[in-house]
């Protein structure tokens, strides 16, 4: 509860800066609109105005600056506009009894969430299996680790279309599988790194102790390394699920998809409706926040039950 006040303060500052930024960002569009409505604007005509800085325009036409806060198609929508758009595409849809409408964000969020969860599951599995291999086999450590690192240097935006093309070549219908693969591609790395660290967390004396019991490799894995890695695993999972969501959205962006938050962002861009982009963006942020919070709760409960509450 103590963290609420600082978080709200930061939020208030962000919203404040955002509101301030709306004026210069939208002043040109606002002046065009005012001029069309017959008002006097200095200088006249949108073409000459291009050579004048937004600050000059705001000073000379201060009476029209307010218009920038209520535009139909703003360059930068106000937080309130984004909020309205979000409500229109979610809550209002539910109120109208059409929550799954393809015009609403609930449907698109669900599409994105599905791929994210599949990608997360796949990525986590790969990450854990990879980490076990790396910790137990020197060969795996030497061969896998460099490739895991190199894999993260390749821009996912470049890789995503290729994965879609290749998966359709091998006869995989739809975008679900390739999107999950792209998502897993981003998600496995933090899990792998965290898990390697976690499995190596027990110190030498703890490993020596098991040696004095003549414990088998499997016994020391199950009783020492695995439980010791749990706190590290959860930290990685939280990073991993956010990465999985980003991966899914990236997978939806350059591929001509029509469903999913990524597709909404792309379509908003193509049709010049920044409001749609912003609301999809916020839906993605809310989704990521909810997923990370859920994992955080599971982490707290698990660690508490394990006696390792922090």
């Amino acid at each position: 509860m103590k963290s609420v006040f600082p978080v709200l303060t930061v939020l208030a500052v962000i919203v404040g800066i955002w509101y301030l930024a709306v004026a210069p960002m939208n002043v040109r569009v606002a002046l065009d609109q005012a001029e069309r409505a017959g008002a006097a604007v200095v200088p006249e005509g949108s073409v000459p105005r291009r050579d004048v800085s937004v600050w000059r325009l705001m000073l000379d036409n201060s009476e029209h600056v307010g218009l920038g806060y209520a535009l139909e198609r703003p360059r930068l929508p106000t937080p309130a506009q984004v909020g309205q758009e979000l409500w229109k595409t979610t809550g209002e849809m539910v109120a109208k009894g059409r929550p799954w409408s393809k015009r609403g964000l609930i449907y698109h969020s669900w599409i994105t969430l599905q791929s994210t969860l599949w990608g997360f599951a796949l990525g986590t599995l790969l990450g854990i299996v990879g980490a076990v291999a790396i910790v137990y086999s020197r060969t795996a450590q030497l061969s896998l680790m460099p490739w895991a690192i190199i894999s993260q240097t390749i821009p996912i935006v470049a890789l995503a279309p290729m994965i879609i093309v290749l998966s359709s070549q091998v006869g995989i219908e739809g975008r679900g599988v390739p999107k999950a693969v792209i998502s897993a591609y981003l998600c496995f790395f933090p899990v792998l790194v965290g898990m390697v660290k976690g499995l190596r967390a027990p110190d030498t004396s703890q490993l020596d102790l098991l040696r004095t019991y003549n414990a088998s490799g499997l016994q020391s894995f199950l009783r020492l390394r695995l439980p010791a890695s749990v706190p590290y695993l959860f930290t990685s999972l939280k990073v991993g699920i956010a990465a999985a969501l980003v991966g899914t959205i990236v997978g939806e962006l350059p591929t001509g998809a029509i469903s999913g938050l990524g597709a909404r962002i792309l379509i908003g861009d193509q049709f010049g409706t920044p409001l749609a982009i912003w609301s999809a963006l916020f839906a993605a942020a809310v989704l990521a926040g909810a997923l990370v919070t859920l994992l955080d709760v599971i982490q707290r409960v698990t660690l508490k039950r394990m006696g390792m509450a922090t």
Partner: protein
């Protein structure tokens, strides 16, 4: 091979190869430990006292000489679970209760559930921790944690107890108390104990045999058979006999340092 010698080491060498050249952790170490002995190893850092303990436990392999534990190689002794080892850090698993920490070796060795519960209760009583079975390690003080770790080493009834500075990180008052308890425990269980320490009073108070070691190369400079009675109240440490032995240990330590 006589049965009363639990540990026999003959001119044991152990050389570590490091980037700065070879390090002679042990050189020509010969020692016999009889059944029921309480042997302390004392000396400055790098004298090989811990290394020697680890050789008995098959955690290090000597590079020369011979060592037997219970008449067999250290490896066989380890595999037949002939000893319990107590490290300087209690090293309890934070995700296990005290009771489940103590049953860890029992689980690994395949004891039945009933047997585990029975032995956990018995060893907890032995270290005076009854009633703490359900507590997690962080709920216990450092001294209690170390007692739990001793209980863990006792749980499977090994005849030998190897202790590597088990009380090194504890304050003096707690240490005194644990030393007293350890002596009582040793008297009750009749185990053979090898105990590494930095403290002269601790070594003299506890031991039937004090092994003084010195570094570069790690070697034994003196072996002192204690003349103190087995029954030792804490105030025995003010007796002239005690001070005499402590004096001899100090001389031995000083002699080992004479060359540098």
């Amino acid at each position: 091979m006589t049965t009363q010698n639990v540990v026999q080491a003959k001119s044991l060498d152990l050389t570590f190869q490091t980037n700065d050249g070879p390090v002679h952790a042990l050189k020509g170490v010969s020692l016999d430990i009889a059944k029921g002995d309480f042997v302390s190893f004392i000396g400055p850092s790098g004298c090989g006292k811990t290394t020697f303990l680890r050789c008995m436990a098959d955690l290090e392999q000597p590079t020369g000489g011979a060592i037997t534990v219970n008449g067999t190689t250290p490896e066989e002794a380890r595999k037949s679970r002939a000893y319990g080892y107590v490290f300087q850090a209690a090293g309890l698993y934070p995700w296990r209760t005290i009771g489940r920490n103590i049953s860890l070796p029992l689980e690994i060795m395949g004891y039945s559930k009933a047997e585990q519960a029975d032995r956990v209760a018995r060893t907890l009583e032995l270290v005076e921790l009854s009633g703490f079975e359900k507590k997690f390690p962080w709920q216990l003080s450092g001294g209690m944690q170390q007692r739990a770790s001793i209980a863990r080493a006792l749980a499977f009834d090994a005849d030998i107890l190897l202790m590597d500075e088990p009380f090194g990180a504890l304050d003096e008052i707690v240490r005194d108390h644990l030393n007293e308890q350890l002596l009582q425990l040793w008297a009750r269980t009749e185990k053979t104990i090898a105990f590494v320490t930095h403290s002269i009073p601790e070594a003299v108070y506890l031991s039937t045999k004090i092994v003084v070691m010195s570094p570069r190369p790690g070697r034994i400079t003196d072996v002192i058979e204690s003349t103190l009675p087995r029954e030792r109240p804490l105030d025995i440490r003010e007796s002239p006999e005690f001070l005499q032995i402590a004096h001899r240990v100090r001389d031995g330590l000083r002699a080992g340092h004479a060359y540098d």
